[in-house]
Amino acid sequence: MKSIAELEAIRQKTLERVSYRKDADNDIRVVVGMATCGIAAGARPVMLTFMDEIRKRNLQNVTVSQTGCIGMCRLEPMVDVIVPGKEKVTYVNLNPDMVPRIVTEHIVNGNPVMEYTIGAAEKK
């Protein structure tokens, strides 16, 4: 026998899993470059770390998807973080250790990690 509260708990819990199939316009999108260059540079562990962090923090409305090569192979692994209504932020030369900071500071708190972005890399 389930109570109404239990039903609501199931709804909330499952919603995270199925919300992908709803209108995703308001989601924060993490897009990982996964062409041959990206994979070779280690994009998979980076993507898996993103997923892991999202799972751990129980974040809703965040999707992780992949994309091809955008032509700056030397900067791979590259990841775009797109927050609706804000400018796209591109992170470059990532490794798994850098991911938790991006998730906490950017995705959760809304402050891009400037030193990891493509802008910072180009200045070096």
């Binding site: 039903l7 709804r11 995270e16 899993r17």
Partner: protein, 597 residues
């Protein structure tokens, strides 16, 4: 809760299953495991997406990429390209007819879905029908919670009444009124029955709802049971819908486990349980009194009404019977309110209706449109028009009980009443499109043949009357029609409609009457000139070889009765006396030189 970055939705409806979606799903599981993606990608078997013509269908989220006509061999490519590397497999992406160069990526952009409004089908193709949690996540059983905690039975009935919901099984009787009658009957035991005996040839919306969203039907049954004061429900579903039956049974098990069926549902003190009864597939068992007889274990034959089921129904107790699609609308009406539902569709027919598009149409499948949409929009915009550049001739709605609608009525808005006015009916929502090659007399004969076959034989008008009509039609298509046949058909039709016992007989003459009304000239051509204008009726046409013939002798070789003669490189001739009109020569001819006249 696991986080998956991608979800692969594979259609598990009957259409896609029969074209191999089961093997596709297995292949996905294997390939995803092989590539070590099990923790990242989730595979879900859903109900029908609706665009059966493009099946088997696979959709990948979060992108919403719509892959059509996927073969088992394609799975490896989708996994290695899309799921591993994030590159869409362009050649498998669904493309709209006429816009082949545009690469439509997601479901919402496809013409087929743009004009649709999905209420009854909202979860079909979206959730895993065998997982109650997913239904709950999409607001499932929320309406039931509201009903049991905040509403009195009469509030529920009033909401359904106010919504203007009418029976989707065909007759269009106001659902709220039905509930009111059943609620008003005083009895210790009442029953709630779901009519899932979908019998119209070419209609499969009830099957799809049961396959894709069985919990919506169960939830609505509990709500209806609460409203009318019933504690037991039956779903009468035909045994030839194995996937629907299986998913329904799984759903009932899960709902019982969660305490959403059974005793003291959600601590409200209300008891309700649902049982499945399998029908053997007789068309007449979709008629409510015959259906109840069949549930009781008797022969599926109708009985006169009154008494109506709301007074004396199943096991002689007050009973409420609703169709699957009707019920699928109920939770949404409770959740969003009667005014919301009323705002969709037209004044007299609110909400949406699901149609099963079939026949000579590009996008065969299921569509759900707001009432008031025109036939033209359904056939040409959503349905993608007639294949092979042929001309539209008529559309048959309502199956064997409905009628044909010709070009002149294409722009009328679809409602219960407008369809009845033009001699057809809503029916359960089968929509069979016909092009210039279809002979309307033969179509009438086809549907009547079906009803004659399915007549239970209890009442004379239906048993004998429809048989006489069929004999006349058979005579006409054979070129043996005589003067006065049309009038005889009309007279018989009128009498059968007035005197038959149940809906089957009363509506059986509709296909004949409507074709006579709109295509009388075709009947006359058959009878007076012994000619079939559509070149369809074999007995009335002859094959001719035109001067396009190059004398290749291919037809001579293929003719089974050696009716074709001629020498190489000269025009051949068909001996009409020998020709059995099998059509083999037409198929064989590479020059299009053989014509039917």
């Amino acid at each position: 809760m696991d986080f998956y970055r991608a979800q692969v939705l594979v259609c598990g409806g009957t259409g896609c299953s029969s074209s191999g979606s089961g093997e596709i799903l297995e292949r996905f599981e294997r390939q995803i495991a092989k590539n070590g993606l099990e923790k990242e990608v989730k595979i879900v078997r859903t109900g029908c997406f609706g665009l059966c013509a493009a099946g088997p269908v696979v959709i990948i989220y979060p992108e919403g990429t719509f892959y059509s006509r996927v073969r088992v061999e394609d799975v490896d490519e989708i996994v290695s390209e899309h799921l591993l590397k994030g590159r869409t497999v362009q050649h498998l992406v669904y493309k709209d007819k006429g816009h082949e160069d545009e690469r439509h990526m997601s479901l919402e952009n496809i013409e087929f879905y743009k004009k649709q409004k999905r209420i009854a089908l909202r979860n079909c193709g979206v959730i895993d029908p065998e997982n109650i949690d997913e239904y709950i996540a999409f607001d499932g059983y929320k309406a039931l919670t509201t009903v049991l905690t905040e509403m009195k039975p009469e509030d529920v009935i009033q909401t359904v009444l106010d919504s203007g919901l009418r029976g989707r099984g065909g007759a269009g009787f106001p659902t709220g009124l039905k509930w009111k009658f059943a609620a008003a009957s005083k009895a210790d035991q009442k029953y709630m029955v779901c009519n899932a005996d979908e019998g119209d040839p070419g209609a499969f919306m009830d099957r799809s709802v049961l396959e894709g969203d069985p919990h919506a039907v169960l939830e609505a049954m509990v709500i209806a049971g609460y409203a009318i004061g019933a504690t037991e429900g039956y779903v009468y579903v035909r045994a030839e819908y194995p996937i629907a039956v299986k998913r329904l049974e799984i759903a009932i098990e899960q709902a019982r486990e969660y305490g959403l069926l059974g005793k003291n549902i959600l601590n409200s003190g209300f008891n309700f349980d649902v049982f499945v009864r399998l029908g053997a597939g007789a068309f007449v068992c979709g008629e409510e009194t015959a259906l109840m007889a069949s549930i009781e274990g008797q022969r599926g034959e109708p009985r006169p009404k009154p008494p109506f089921p709301a007074i004396k129904g199943l096991f002689a107790a007050p009973t409420n019977i609703n169709n699957v699609e009707t019920l699928a609308n109920v939770p949404q009406i409770i959740l969003n309110g009667a005014a919301w539902f009323k705002s969709i569709g037209t004044e007299k027919s609110s909400g949406t209706k699901v149609f099963a598009l079939g026949g000579k149409i590009n996008n065969t499948g299921l569509v759900e449109i707001p009432m008031g949409t025109t036939l033209r929009e359904i056939i040409f915009d959503i349905g993608g028009g007639i294949p092979n550049g042929k001309r539209f001739k008529a559309v048959q709605t309502g199956g064997p009980s409905g009628g044909c609608i010709s070009t002149e009525n294409l722009d009328i808005p679809i409602e219960y009443d407008t369809l009845t006015q033009i001699g057809s009916m809503m029916g359960s929502g089968g929509m069979i499109v016909m092009d210039e090659d279809n002979c309307m007399v033969d179509i009438a004969r086809f549907f009547l043949d079906f009803t004659v076959d399915e007549s239970c034989g209890k009442c004379t008008p239906c048993r004998i009357g429809t048989r006489r009509m069929l004999e006349i039609l058979e005579r006409i298509v054979k070129g043996q029609g005589v003067q006065g046949d049309i009038e005889k058909l009309e007279r018989l039709a009128k009498n059968i409609k007035a005197t038959a016992l149940c809906g089957l007989g009363q509506s059986a003459p509709n296909p004949v009457l409507s074709t006579i009304k709109y295509f009388r000239n075709e009947y006359e051509a058959h009878i007076n000139e012994k000619r079939c204008p559509a070149h369809h009726c074999q007995a009335l046409l002859n094959y001719y070889i035109t001067d396009k013939c190059r004398g290749c002798t291919a037809c001579v070789k293929v003719c089974p009765v050696t009716a074709i003669t001629g020498t190489v490189k000269e025009r051949h001739v068909i001996d009409a006396a020998k020709c059995i009109k099998c059509g083999s020569c037409v198929e064989k001819c590479r020059f299009g030189a053989i014509e039917k006249r």
